[in-house]
């Protein structure tokens, strides 16, 4: 792990101002922010661990817990809300047996919410592993989940 983290830090020249970019690349690499990675970032860059931890817990893009194989993001933007996205979220919670912010017990899915993905004209929108699903409804949830192994 430390070789990968070192490479990421190098890519940004260990620039303290780029801490968030460094954490984003680390999150993308490991699908979460492992404690060891954060400690390495702190030691290498000379940024207090408490500050790295503050940043890691402030931004929604980061997760300190390992995520499931597939990341589901439900858009809770206003346009999606007005078109009933909360019903889609509720159905997902029922079908997955996990609440928002949680990972299913078999580690297959992590269910997160996002406050707007910018696909507002086609709400409600759900994103799974970067793939967008527009005009969602509670009825479409199960058939879409079945597409993922």
């Amino acid at each position: 792990m430390d070789k990968k983290v070192a490479a990421i830090i190098n890519k940004y020249n260990a620039d303290k101002g780029q801490l968030i970019s460094i954490l984003q690349d680390t999150q993308a690499e490991f699908h979460y922010l492992p404690k060891e990675a954060l400690t390495q970032v702190s030691d290498t860059m000379g940024v207090p661990l408490s500050r790295v931890y503050s940043v890691a817990t402030f931004f929604k893009a980061f997760s300190l817990k390992p995520r499931g194989k597939h990341l589901i993001n439900v858009c809770l933007g206003t346009a999606c809300h007005v078109r009933g996205t909360s019903k889609v979220l509720e159905q997902l919670e029922r079908s997955l047996n996990a609440s928002r912010g949680e990972t299913t017990s078999d580690f297959k899915f992590t269910l997160e919410t996002v406050n707007c993905m910018g696909c507002c004209a086609l709400g409600p929108v759900v994103n799974i592993d970067g793939e967008y699903f527009g005009q969602m409804s509670a009825g479409k949830v199960d058939s879409i989940l079945n597409k993922y192994s």
Partner: protein
Amino acid sequence: MVTINIDGQELEAKEESTILEVASENGIYIPTLCYHENLAPYGACRLCCVEILKGGRSQIVASCLYPVEEGLEVKTSSPLVINNRKMIMELLLARCSQNEVIRKLASEMGVKQPPFKSEYLEDEDCILCGLCVRTCEEIVDRSAISLVNRGVNREVAPPFLEPSADCIGCGSCAYVCPTGAIKMDDKDGTREVYARNWKKEFKLKKCKVCGNYWAPEEQLEYIRKKLNLPADFFDVCPNCK
């Protein structure tokens, strides 16, 4: 130097100073919770808010941060200010409904009960003023604790809620905490610095002469290394030196 007017008093003020500094220098009381003269002003509690008149328009600003300018007119206890301070206290009291310091301060400002439903009242001691974190960063230069999470989940904590490797046990955070949310106990050769969700224990150094425990070994070691002092420098406590 500039001239400003606080509550009808014409006062001389150094340029670049804040309304709060000028008020303090002249014995005018403005309540604060997150302010400390040895730390950079933070502007989190908003209790120090005052009403200013600028260009004919009235505005509420945080006096701990607002820089003075020539001709500034300030009212520290106008009805608008009092109402706002009351609401801020009501909000704090709803958060820390059992904390004695907050209850006392609220009472002094005429707030007995928060206007929110009782099932929503909380039992927190920390008001997130940040004094502990800022002291640890700006004065002790250790940054052992920080403000983590965001919004209503914000809290003061060491990384991963584990005893922080950077914490030397100086207890400055407990000392500066206005509500007792961080405490420090020295007992039987051990110091414990703790809050609701975290703590760290330290072995206290024993004086070679009087045999009393006087400061955490970690803290002394940190100071010794920083100031390049000999290895046995702190073996004798200040009283016996």
